[in-house]
């Protein structure tokens, strides 16, 4: 199993190296094939690990494998270790599985691009980084994976580096993630100082002995990193801009994997969070806020990818909510189903964009229903799954989260539940707004002019993964049906690192499940209905509501806020210091020394009068002094 873990991790890295070293020597297509093959190999290894883990039970289900000692911090040795347990295996399956589908899709999407090879190298590097993150056996290796994921994201968002907007978006993403990295690093320093270890298992054992301030600070630092990586409010502004990257990048990184890393972290470090309940509540709260705010902003977006991006933010809010209330398995379940249908949505949107010669503005689209029927079906499935319509996967996962919120029993839980329901309604509205705008009505002028579907809706490399994901989006929910069977929850139970039987902190009753499902489906249908009224049948005009719409269109002014608070002051400080500190320091000190020396020289120079008699007098006087000294000393 250890070998499988290393193969799973290193296959994509080997792929990336191979593509980089081979460079121009191989045709572009080969680069894509190498990348896909390496990620597929990773998936195969992950499946192997999964099967092996299934065969074991309880305590046996975790295996730590260390390659060598990576770093020693005082007494503490941090090894390059991988942990194979149900949680990491599940994440590895999702990352490698969905990843291989998306990389395969990219072969079609990126065909013809000059820099195709670079793209696939970066994608393989990304998969490696993400696997390092999820398979890590201690916090430092996790942080290494965390940082490398951020790096890969930067490289991929800024792939079209001639575009200033892409570069700006890439930098923004990296720097916001760096803020999260710094917060996590601080948490780790504190952890090392207080517990002397960064290994998961040992650290969790020692959590009890820590003071509540320390645990809260550590958990807060981890939450900071998670919020930055998962683009939750308030560190969310990088995600919509990240849509500058090619669509497969958005699908892989900004839907299925990287942005879910924050959720993974909270689940992985759940003993820490459970020891800091206020931080855990904060996580749930931030999730709830993000669900609603992101949903609202999605309503006014005109770019097809940005709608899906905000939708991602919103859905991850659900996962944070789940992790925040202790419904870890439900959160992971939604992570999985979301990976399926969100990737599906992005990839299908990519098919549309590809067919419309890279146009992403929904206002120019319309009527694609008949012109691209297969894509329409795919997006419809994805959209329904997203809204949570039974019997698609999203229904099972999202409702399990909402039911858990209801099951917490306290006022806070009810507030979270309400937020989740509101989110379901908003999801219905924005999702079907998208579907109606793009696929509904009559083909727009732009579409008639530019749509090229002579060779089918898209190359085989693109349509096949879309189909696969559509299937997964439909059946994926079968893994866990509330109240009836829950193999996923059982599978994950063994990762619980504190003394209790089941991982989840809350278990909804059957009644709560039913109530939740009815309410959630109802909210979703209501949203779909509203969307149909406004965008489908065009019976009602979209309300103007400038007071609400303008802030939403400006994304609640977060960008402006961050510019004002961080960027401009940084530039100002740098400029100020350069002028007022560095200038005088460099120039001033030296010219000070120079002028002092010159003055001293000038002062001493007064003794050189040029007159013979002065010199003669000096000689005489000096001699006299010497003689007197000589005589007196003797």
């Amino acid at each position: 199993m250890s070998v499988a873990a290393w193969i799973c991790l290193l296959a994509p890295l080997a792929g990336a190296f191979a593509i980089t070293l081979l460079g121009d020597l191989v045709p572009r297509r080969v680069a894509g094939l190498v990348a896909t093959a390496s990620v597929a190999a990773s998936f195969a290894a992950a499946v192997f690990m999964f099967v092996t883990v299934l065969g074991l039970d309880g305590e046996e289900r975790q295996r730590l494998t260390t390659a060598w000692n990576w770093l020693s911090v005082g007494d503490l040795d941090v090894g390059l270790s991988l942990l194979v347990d149900p949680l990491s295996v599940m994440m590895a399956l999702i990352v490698a599985g969905v990843g291989s589908l998306i990389v395969a899709y990219s072969i079609g999407y990126m065909a013809g691009d000059d820099e195709e090879r670079r793209f696939f190298a970066y994608m393989a590097l990304f998969v490696f980084s993400m696997l390092l993150l999820v398979l890590a056996g201690n916090f430092l290796i996790l942080l290494a994976g965390w940082g490398l994921v951020g790096l890969s994201s930067y490289l991929l968002i800024g792939f079209h580096h001639e575009r200033p907007s892409a570069i700006a978006a890439a930098k923004k993403a990296f720097i916001m993630n760096a803020v999260g990295d710094a917060a996590m690093a601080l948490a780790f320093f504190l952890l090392v100082y207080e517990t002397g270890t960064l290994d998961y298992l040992t650290a969790f054992e020692r959590v009890d002995g820590l003071s509540s301030t320390v645990v809260n600070l550590v958990a807060l630092g981890l939450l900071g990193g998670a919020v930055a990586k998962s683009a939750q409010i308030p560190l969310h502004t990088w995600l919509p801009d990240a849509m500058e990257g090619p669509t497969p990048v958005s699908a892989l990184i900004h839907a299925a994997t990287m942005v879910t890393a924050g959720v993974y972290l909270i689940v992985r470090a759940h003993p820490l969070f459970e020891a800091a309940p206020s931080v855990q509540d904060l996580a749930a709260g931030l999730g709830a806020v993000t669900i609603v705010v992101a949903g609202l902003i999605a309503l006014v977006q005109t770019d097809i990818k940005r709608v899906i991006a905000y939708s991602t933010m919103s859905q991850i809010g659900y996962m944070f909510l789940a992790a925040g209330i202790g419904a870890y398995a439900n959160g992971m379940f939604h992570l999985m189903t979301h990976a399926f249908f969100k990737a599906l949505l992005f990839l299908a949107a990519g098919v549309v964009i590809h067919a419309l010669v890279n146009e992403q503005d929904m206002r120019k689209m319309g009527g694609l229903r008949r012109l691209m029927p297969r894509t329409w079906i795919a997006m419809l499935i994805g959209g329904l799954a997203l809204v949570g319509m039974p019997p698609l996967s999203g229904f099972f996962s999202k409702d399990s989260i909402l039911a858990s919120a209801l099951a917490t029993g306290d006022g806070y839980g009810y507030v979270l539940f309400a937020a989740g329901l509101l989110g379901a309604f908003l999801t219905g509205v924005y999702t079907f707004r998208l579907l109606f705008l793009v696929f509904g009505g009559e083909p727009s002028g732009f579409v008639r002019e530019h749509l090229h579907t002579e060779h089918g809706e898209g190359p085989r490399w693109m349509t096949a993964p879309v189909a696969a994901l559509a299937v997964l989006a439909v059946v994926g929910g079968g893994v866990q049906v509330a109240g009836i069977w829950h193999p996923l929850a059982d599978f994950l139970d063994s990762i619980v690192a504190v003394d209790r039987e089941s991982l989840a902190l809350v278990e909804p009753t059957v009644t709560q499940d039913w109530v939740t499902s009815i309410l959630a489906v109802g909210a979703g249908l209501l949203g779909i209905g509203v969307a149909w009224l406004i965008y489908g049948a065009r019976r009602v005009a979209a309300p103007r509501m400038a007071a609400l719409r303008n802030p939403l269109e400006r994304k609640l002014y977060f960008d402006e806020l961050y510019q004002a608070v961080f960027y401009y002051p940084a530039v100002g400080i740098a400029r100020g210091w350069t002028r007022f500190v560095e200038g005088p320091l460099i120039g001033g000190s030296i010219s000070g020394v120079a002028s002092a020396t010159r003055e001293l020289g000038r002062g001493v120079g007064h003794a050189q009068t040029g007159y013979l008699r002065t010199y003669a007098l000096a000689i005489a006087a000096g001699l006299a002094v010497l003689a007197m000294v000589f005589v007196s000393v003797r």
Binding site: H606, Q608, T609, G610, Y611, L612, R613, L617, A620
Partner: protein, 102 residues
């Protein structure tokens, strides 16, 4: 030993030396400065010989001879410089010759 006491010789030597020193410090013409320098040297020579006579040691007289040789060479150089200055029509006034002023 007959003749005046060493003291008288020393007195004459110091008068010579002082006269010469004053001349070096106070006179303006380089030629006169050079002359005064010679007087100083002669004063010193006299003192040397007087002491040599008193000690009965010939070292002082040898030293005085050496001084005379050096004085002669130095006068040659000095006079040469003065002639060179005169030839270039420089003012023969040490107060005016201050090119080396710092």
């Amino acid at each position: 030993m007959n003749g005046p006491d060493v003291t008288w010789y020393l007195a004459v030597a110091s008068i010579l030396f002082a006269t010469g020193a004053l001349g070096v410090l106070l006179r303006r013409s380089p030629l006169i400065v050079l002359l005064s320098l010679e007087i100083m040297l002669n004063g010193a020579n006299l003192a040397l010989i007087a002491f040599a006579r008193q000690q009965g040691d010939l070292d002082g007289q040898i030293f005085a001879l050496a001084v005379m040789a050096v004085a002669a060479s130095e006068v040659v150089v000095g006079l040469g410089l003065i002639v060179a200055m005169a030839r270039r029509r420089l003012v023969l006034d040490v107060d005016e010759l201050t090119t080396l002023r710092g």
